[in-house]
Symmetry: C2
DNA sequence: CATGGCTTGTGAAGAATTTCACAAGAACGC
DNA sequence: GCGTTCTTGTGAAATTCTTCACAAGCCATG
């Protein structure tokens, strides 16, 4: 019997960096599957994912034992295992709040729907926008948010409102029972510990590049 | 004489996490300045930035000594110091490659221009798009890229093309002499070590949220 | 000008993460 | 069946990052 999918239930805390890399491995595996690869070794997985083979094996070892010595990992099996671990076996309902430039771009992003993230509602406080459709999803009034959430039980809220309103919107979203927030506004959010927040701060990434450029020119040791 | 801005020249390697936090502090300081604060302590800076006061002081200590014991940090002074450290004292020329949904949203993003990142060129390989204007910047043909770059010497390329073309575009951009890339495509890029890449992978962040949600329900120790 | 209350800067300790290195298992050829 | 080659899984070591804890400095007040 071929290696039944291990139930992903480590009792230890898993580092966020490990979880990020698991997502990355999943992406590499998708490509490998598309190229018709049956099997992949930790060395190849590492090369394509930009890390080391020891890191790959260690990351996976937290959740079980998925490979075969001398062979490597079965691509299809590992995809299933990683999806299980990451909670991608189901559909996640997403609200987007803020139907502006970035919010509209995200609605139709296939990278989300491919992984089971389904946008079920878009909210905006501008009456001009309410009622319009974005990629098949209607823009709703902010007034409805709590009411809709009680019925639809969305899992994740994506915040794409101006930074100065981000905290207020986060408060409402939390009060409405949503326990995961992805924040695109460049403002640190303060939420109860039962709520998970991930921030995507693009200006911050650019600043990291600027830093790298000035350091490089100044002759920073490249480590 | 009031604390002349220390030249930011640590000989040691500085962790990426430290640099990210410096950007964050800068954001908190902007808000503090807007509220009229003259001075701010590491405790307040930490609370608003979502870290600890010891972390704030340690981060800053890598670059010099910016505070006054018993008083805290002068907001305006620290802003200047951080901008210096991060290389935000100058204008950075940015090319955006891929004038699709996310590329167009980024062109007009004020968070970039506010920090001195100026979009000087947008490129697309779709002839239909070439010549159109996006927020005052014309979309140019990919054929021109190398030629324009030799003249304009852009510092940073933002890649917003489909994942399957990201590597090819990265290769061209590197060959054109650009040494910093911000990659929005969900594909790991392989570039020479002289080039710095930062990837913003939004699906990956969502997957991190999904993981947090399944773990939380499964009763992961909250660390 | 002495005292008390605050706050920084920083070595040292502690914790977390990554890398090393190797025993053990699997496949293949002969 | 046996040796060779490959590759995993994992303790242990090494490295990196964060937190602790406190001496030293600054300011206000009396
Ligand atoms: N445009 C970009 O490329 C970009 C990039 C990174 C981050 N961001 C951040 O994303 C956020 C949105 O940016 P954008 O460019 O899409 O702005 P935008 O102005 O195009 O869109 C913001 C939308 O939010 C709505 N809104 C405002 N206040 C609201 C509230 N209280 N409740 C509900 N809706 C509200 C507005 O009506 C508008 O439709 C900002 O915080 C911005 O800093 C934008
Ligand atoms: N839309 C989103 O919300 C979103 C979010 C995160 C990441 N992304 C990623 O960003 C990238 C772009 O996404 P999008 O939604 O803007 O797609 P899009 O299709 O709207 O835009 C892509 C643009 O790139 C151009 N292009 C294609 N190949 C090119 C090439 N070889 N050289 C130059 N230009 C080329 C196309 O003409 C098009 O204008 C994708 O990799 C996507 O995965 C998108």
């Amino acid at each position: 019997m071929p290696n039944t999918p291990a139930l992903p239930s480590p009792e230890k805390h898993i580092a966020e960096s490990t979880v990020r890399r698991l997502s990355l491995y999943l992406r590499v595996l998708d490509q490998a599957a598309a190229r018709g690869l049956q099997t992949i070794s930790s060395v190849v997985l590492a090369e394509e994912g930009g890390t080391t083979s020891a890191q790959v094996r260690k990351d996976l070892s937290f959740f079980g034992s998925f490979g075969k010595r001398g062979r490597g990992y079965d691509v299809a099996e590992l995809v299933t295992a990683l999806q299980d671990i990451l909670g991608l076996g189901r559909e996640w309902k997403v609200y987007i709040v803020g139907a502006g430039k970035i919010g509209s771009a995200l609605v139709s992003y296939r990278g989300f729907s491919q992984r089971g993230f389904r946008v079920v509602g878009i909210y905006d406080n501008n009456p001009q926008m309410v009622g319009r459709m974005l990629d098949g999803v209607g823009i709703r009034s902010m007034a409805q948010l709590e009411h809709d959430a009680a019925r639809e039980l969305p899992d994740i809220a994506v915040l794409t409102v101006p930074a100065e309103h981000a905290q207020a919107v986060a408060d409402r979203v939390v009060a409405a029972g949503i326990r995961a927030i992805m924040n695109f506004a460049p403002a640190p959010l303060h939420v109860p510990p039962s709520v998970t927040v991930k921030s995507v701060n693009m200006a911050l990434e650019l600043e990291g590049l600027a830093y790298a450029l000035v350091r490089r020119d100044a002759g920073e040791p490249p480590r």
